[in-house]
């Protein structure tokens, strides 16, 4: 089984979505919180660890630091976009099956 067929963690999935445009660490936290309507709050240590893993995997990249700015910005790569799309397909399957089985009970 290849690595890519594993489910992404919620944190990783939302980080990838948030990085369609470049953001620094705090920006990612805010964007993810906003995307999930306040439900997902990434803590600094968890986010830092996830960013390091994503960089290593090549799913995101760090932008060259601008002069005078201390904050590092990140952006999603083509491989990262592919990973997020794979996850979306997996989530669609989960939702479709959930609705088919649980939705029937409810309806």
């Amino acid at each position: 089984m290849s690595n890519e067929s594993f489910a992404l963690t919620e944190a990783v999935y939302y980080i990838l979505l948030s990085l369609r445009s470049p953001l620094h660490g705090y920006g990612i936290m805010q964007r993810v919180e906003q995307l999930s309507a306040g439900r997902v709050r990434l803590a600094a240590g968890t986010l830092y660890g996830a960013l390091e893993s994503l960089l290593k995997k090549g799913w995101i990249q760090a932008l060259p630091e601008e002069m005078g700015s201390r904050k590092k910005e990140y952006v999603i790569t083509a491989a990262g976009t592919q990973a997020a799309e794979n996850e979306l397909a997996r989530l669609r399957e989960l939702v479709a099956n959930g609705e088919k089985i649980l939705g029937r009970d409810a309806g």
Partner: protein, 180 residues
């Protein structure tokens, strides 16, 4: 007004230490500096701050740790200080909740880090204890017996701490079977 309190916390009970620091913050005593078994607080508004601590991967003075500390500061927290490899942060409660970890994996990671720290110290303590107790048995030296006994006591304590962390890790892993 500053207030300094000396108190010992074992490496395997950072949750207890953090809970105590937050109790102090709730009373209006906010952590402003740390040292070896020493906590300095400044008086402020009760409940204005949340305090967190963690064991870093590297000594706080290294580039890796400095990068990390800066990252945490950029999220609105303040770096209060360090004690050995432990880093202390605080954040104003008005700026939203403050946690360093938001999933089980990173919590497991932290517990593992503390375990590895204890695993480095434990063999040293056991070596010292056997060495000293053995030589005191040979020479009847009282000081060697005392030092050996103290090392043995510390080794037992560390062994206890290590086991507690092991159980904590097992609980977290069981939880992760069900959710992140």
């Amino acid at each position: 007004m500053k207030r300094t309190i000396h108190r010992l916390f074992w490496a395997w009970e950072p949750d207890k230490e953090e809970a105590w620091l937050n109790e102090m913050a709730a009373k209006g005593l906010v952590l402003s500096d740390v040292g070896w078994c020493r906590f300095t607080f400044e008086e402020g508004t009760p409940g204005a701050y949340a305090v967190r601590l963690e064991l870093l991967d590297f000594m706080p003075s290294t580039k890796q740790s400095q990068d990390y500390i800066r990252f945490v500061e950029e999220t609105g927290a303040e770096y209060v200080g360090k004690c050995l490899r432990w880093a202390y942060f605080r954040k104003q409660t008005a700026d939203g909740g403050f946690d360093l970890y938001s999933d089980i994996d990173s919590r497991l990671n932290q517990v593992g880090r503390i375990q590895r720290l204890i695993a480095c110290v434990l063999p040293l303590l056991i070596f010292n204890a056997t060495n000293m107790l053995f030589s005191s048995a040979m020479q009847g030296s009282l000081s060697a017996r005392i030092i050996g006994g103290l090392n043995l006591l510390l080794a037992l304590l560390c062994g206890y701490g290590f086991t507690r962390l092991l159980l904590q890790k097992r609980r977290l892993k069981a939880e992760r079977q069900l959710h992140e």
